[in-house]
């Protein structure tokens, strides 16, 4: 037991030395600082990652660096649905086997990934890029809402599924969009509230999410 404690003390002491500002190499220090700008990576983990790269072939590390560089430089947003894409169109929009009569409206690309994981949905998507939130300065014009309306006019899908978190701001957004489509010949539904109220879509487990999309419910704006 005592032995264990001493070992820990020693390691902590050394770690303090390393991830303080006094690295023996400026290159190492730069790598550590670069890694620690990533979310969830503290200086300790950053140091471990940097030292790990040293154990790898130079070629492997080049590949990693290139992948990061190319990803950032070449990634595009799909001109149709605003999902991530390599060219003007994403793989989902380009897939001719998908059901083009249904568009699922989501807040972010992460929601697309969460829904794709469920393998329950075969239609298309439309990524809004957020929800209407005046407190954060986000109005409808900051979101991809105009393009959604344009898409509905030109492609004439039969159904729009609003897979938006049921928060106050999410509800405002759902209502706003439904209001715009009041006179368009399209059915609007929202996902069933198996997703916890106020819960983010991303955190819903796959089964709940899959079931939510299958058991979606029709959405009605006020009839006035």
């Amino acid at each position: 037991m005592m032995e264990e404690f001493r070992k820990k003390d020693l390691i902590c002491g050394l770690a303090g030395y390393f991830y303080g500002m006094n690295h023996s190499s400026r290159l190492l220090q730069e790598a550590v600082e670069a890694f620690s700008t990533l979310p969830g990576i503290g200086r300790k983990t950053a140091l471990r990652l940097a030292l790990h790269l040293l154990k790898q072939d130079a070629e492997q590390v080049d590949h990693l660096g290139d992948a990061i560089k190319r990803f950032r430089r070449d990634i595009r947003f799909c001109q149709t649905c605003f999902n991530l894409a390599d060219g003007p169109q994403c793989a989902i929009c380009a897939d001719t086997h998908r059901n083009r009569k249904t568009i699922c409206v989501v807040e972010s690309v992460r929601d697309v990934m969460a829904i794709e994981e469920t393998q329950q949905y075969r239609g298309l998507y439309h990524v809004l890029g957020g929800v209407i939130n005046p407190l954060d300065g986000i109005g409808p014009e900051q979101l991809h809402i105009d393009s959604l309306v344009g898409r509905i006019r030109s492609d004439q899908p039969e159904e729009i599924i609003m897979a938006i978190s049921p928060t106050i701001e999410g509800e405002t957004t759902i209502y706003y969009i439904s209001r715009l489509m009041r006179d368009l010949p399209v059915r609007i539904s929202t996902i069933a509230r198996g997703v916890a109220f106020g819960g983010e879509l991303e955190y819903a487990d796959e089964i709940t999410l899959g079931r939510s999309i299958m058991s979606r419910i029709p959405y009605a704006t006020n009839p006035d």
Binding site: Y175, Y176, A196, T221
Partner: protein
């Protein structure tokens, strides 16, 4: 009617308390000591455990003991014949967890109402003599504790109103006006506003009945207390109200009419109590009002809340203290915590009334039990 009894309370880094655990008994718990010794903090700890916040307008960071980073409160209670443990773990600015028997609630709202408390303090006179905000707060505090739906609607209403005002303000700053945004916000505000207004209206009616009876018993005076709820939705529904004020809202850049302006007018013999009561009338009316809050909470929840009386006997003679305590005992009270600067008057009165009580002496945040009654 079931009762709620705190058997022990632990406070860690809470206000003046570093790490203390105290045991309590049934009936009256009398906490005596000079001012500034930490008596009120014990009551506020119980209030915090019940309602997830201080009774006083203090932020969580202001409840921390000097130099600490977190505080923790825990009460072992017996409720409906069963033991429970409620725990609050708070790191101001980053974490605030409440637990029931070591299980963390997913939202604080789930906890509110589990351990009902009513606290009465000298600055409650604000409810009568202060601005209308104090009276709305009084109504909201009471209703949030007894009705989870009210709590949900009130927090939606507040959030939506913030969004509405932020949108109106952005228009003043030159943003293009899109009526559908206001419509989207208002169609959500409408059901919340209607629920809140109707709950407040019903509550005020029941409350005033209780206040009338209490006031007569406490003051033995001839004047009649009464009151009325004056709300934005008395004559129109939410969408009508918003339409009427549409152009004003756009011009001013905020929501001019709504529940956030509602008023509870309290009167004594038809005169507004706010302006025309004497100090004695004011004190009696506040006590009648707060006891009515306690009675209302008991009857709606079917569960007697903890009653916390902070320093309310200040400047009263032995006769008045006995009279108030007799009145209290005639109500259906469960466990009652009383703080007082005078060491003897409350225990003496309770002894004469043959009530079960325990006395604790507080000195520099150290509590010692004095006698067992």
């Amino acid at each position: 009617m079931t009762t709620l009894e705190v058997h022990s309370l632990s406070m860690t880094n809470f206000k003046s308390y570093e790490a203390e655990t105290y045991s309590f008994g049934s009936g009256f718990q009398v906490i005596v000591g000079r001012n500034g010794m930490g008596k009120t903090n014990v009551l506020d700890a119980l209030h915090y455990l019940g309602l997830c916040r201080s009774y006083f307008p203090l932020r969580d960071s202001e409840l921390l003991r000097h130099g600490s980073e977190f505080f923790r409160l825990e009460a072992s209670i017996r409720q409906d014949g069963r033991p429970f443990t409620y725990t609050a773990k708070v790191v101001p600015g980053s974490r605030k967890d409440f637990e029931k028997d070591k299980n963390t609630y997913s939202t604080l709202a789930e906890h509110i109402g589990q351990m009902p408390v009513v606290l009465i303090a000298p600055n409650d006179t604000e409810i009568i003599s202060g601005f209308s905000e104090a009276r709305r707060k009084f109504m909201d505090q009471t209703l949030c504790q007894v009705d989870q739906t009210y709590l949900a609607h009130l927090s939606s209403y507040n959030r939506l109103l913030l969004q509405r005002n932020a949108y109106l303000k952005s228009l003043l700053q030159g943003k293009r006006y899109d009526p559908a945004v206001l419509e989207a916000i208002d169609q959500q505000l409408s059901p919340s506003a209607e629920y809140i207004a109707s709950a407040r209206r019903t509550f005020v009616k029941e409350l005033l009945e209780l206040v009338r009876v209490n006031y007569q018993a406490i003051s033995q005076a001839a004047e009649q207390p009464s009151g009325i709820y004056q709300g934005a939705l008395d004559e129109s529904n939410w969408s009508e109200l918003m339409q009427q004020n549409h152009s004003t809202d756009l011009r001013m850049g905020r929501t001019m009419k709504g529940l956030h302006r509602d008023e509870l007018v309290l009167t004594l013999d038809q005169h507004p109590a706010r302006r025309f009561s004497s100090q004695g009338q004011l004190k009696s009316l506040v006590f009648a009002l707060k006891i009515a809050q306690f009675q209302y909470t008991s009857s709606v929840m079917g569960r007697i809340p903890l009653l916390l009386l902070d320093d309310i006997f200040d400047k009263l003679d032995q006769y008045r203290v006995s009279a108030l305590l007799t009145f209290l005992v005639d109500q259906q009270v469960g466990q009652v915590f009383i703080t007082d600067t005078d060491e003897d008057r409350v225990p003496e009165a309770l002894l004469k009334m043959k009530q079960a009580f325990r006395t604790f002496h507080v000195h520099e945040s150290q509590i010692t039990e004095v006698t067992t009654g």
